[in-house]
Amino acid sequence: METPDTSTKKTGAKPGKLGRDVQARLGQQLRAMYDDVVNQGVPDRFADLLNRLEGNGNKDKH
């Protein structure tokens, strides 16, 4: 008798080839995660940074 291992991997899964539904679902999750951040827009610190860089008139920059 084998003891069940703790792996969550399913024995029936074929390595290397994923169904379209799985790929679609993974893609959806991925974009949802990414878009959560994208939708936060541009935090002030970045606009401020550009303003500061421009405002300094730093001609001596190497």
Binding site: T8, K9, K10, G12, A13, K14, P15, G16, L18, G19, D21, V22, Q23, R25, L26, G27, Q28, Q29, L30, R31, A32, M33, Y34, D35, D36, V37, V38, N39, Q40, G41, V42, P43, R45, F46, A47, L49, L50, L53, E54, N56, G57, N58, K59, K61
Partner: protein, 182 residues
Amino acid sequence: MPMDESVRKAILGAVPSLRAFAISLCGNVDRADDLVQETMLRALANIDSFQPGTNMSAWLFTILRNHFRSEYRKRRREVEDTDGHYADSLKSQPEQHGQVEFREFKEALTHLPSDQREALILVGASGFSYEEAANICGCAVGTIKSRVNRARTRLAELLAIDGIDDFGPDEQTRAVLAGGGE
């Protein structure tokens, strides 16, 4: 130093995606924002090397990615903060996709080798073509394709999904299986 308005616009316009990419690379919002800031500074310092008419966003991603890679090598021994800050950045978001499943997905993503993760993000989320992603990562198109494929396969393994039925109804069981960390 006056900045070309179009450059300024392009850089600011790329910030949201750069942040999303940076967070997915390092798993930490504060560090990601530092990466983005450093990317902006480097881009402006090297703006002469940008070829007008080419993709500014891809250029910025390349700078960010290379900077992250060199930083990463330096900080190898530092453990990546994969849940804390990242989870914080998202906890105000609405529960559009079953919280458990979404959290598991993000967790699984952190277990991918970084070259596979970046390839998957660039192609699957940032919307770059395989060619653009290959340029950003400095490798062959075939390499990117194979990394993306391996990333997807690995994710499916980590999430123990091999069919659409595995999403959804059995979330609780999988949450128990995956809940060893707490």
